[in-house]
């Protein structure tokens, strides 16, 4: 049972794990309000990645990861660049912060 210390590493490895075997990979979240602890686990029944925290900011990051997993699981593991945009590229409206390209 490996506890990963870096959030980004946890996200990357879990997505890799899911893409390698989407049918047996599952994502588990355990929350204990009385202890103020949150534990995340991603496993494909061969390898297991875990992440624990007591920080509110990590909960926000976890929400993004939830979105990633929802998209991957509902639509299929071939969804592109979901890590970058958080959703499929076709769904996201590109926000342009161009400096005065309007003519």
């Amino acid at each position: 049972m490996v506890y990963i210390t870096s959030w980004d590493e946890f996200v990357e490895r879990s997505v890799q794990l899911f893409r390698a075997d989407p049918d047996s990979t599952r994502y588990v979240m355990k929350y204990r309000h009385c202890d103020g602890k949150l534990v995340l686990k991603v496993t494909d029944n061969r390898e297991c990645l875990k992440f624990k925290t007591d920080q509110a900011q990590e909960a926000k990051k976890m929400e993004k990861l939830n979105n990633i997993f929802f998209t991957l699981m509902a639509r299929g593991p071939e969804v592109d660049l979901s890590e970058v945009t958080g959703k499929e590229q076709t769904d996201v409206q590109p926000t342009k912060r161009g400096r005065g390209r309007k003519q």
């Binding site: 009385c34 007591d54 929400e63 509902a74 639509r75």
Partner: protein, 120 residues
């Protein structure tokens, strides 16, 4: 195991969180599933049909388990509601201030020594 529709599931999940504030945990599991047995799936694969996958979501408080399955059409709506529920209930986590570097290193030490100390 109770299989519910999306909205009743969200309502039950909310009450589960509310009931577990003083003691107990809430587990939520996400898994991709086609909800068909292997035999049926093989048949569909050989027949050339596309297998429709859904996201299976299970929640338990140790005593009671509820579940629901989300397809690609409802997943965004579910995602939004689910995020709202989590944000509303995960209030006991600590707020971290990144102003002091000392504080963050102290928090790291605490996290490391709270369970087993790892020596890398």
């Amino acid at each position: 195991m109770v299989l519910l529709q999306l909205d009743p599931f969200l309502n039950e999940l909310t009450s589960m969180f509310e009931r577990s504030t003083e003691t107990g945990s809430v587990w939520v599991t996400l898994k991709r599933s086609s909800l068909k047995s292997k035999v049926v799936r093989n048949k569909m694969a050989t027949a050339g049909e596309a297998i429709e996958y859904r996201c299976l979501i299970r929640a338990t408080n140790g005593k009671k388990t509820i579940s629901t399955s989300v397809g690609p059409k409802d997943h965004q709506r579910f995602q939004a509601s689910y995020a709202t529920i989590l944000k509303a209930h995960m209030t006991s986590l600590k707020k971290r201030e990144r102003k002091d570097k000392k504080k963050s290193s102290e928090a790291d030490k605490r996290e490391g020594t709270s369970k087993r100390p790892k020596k890398s």
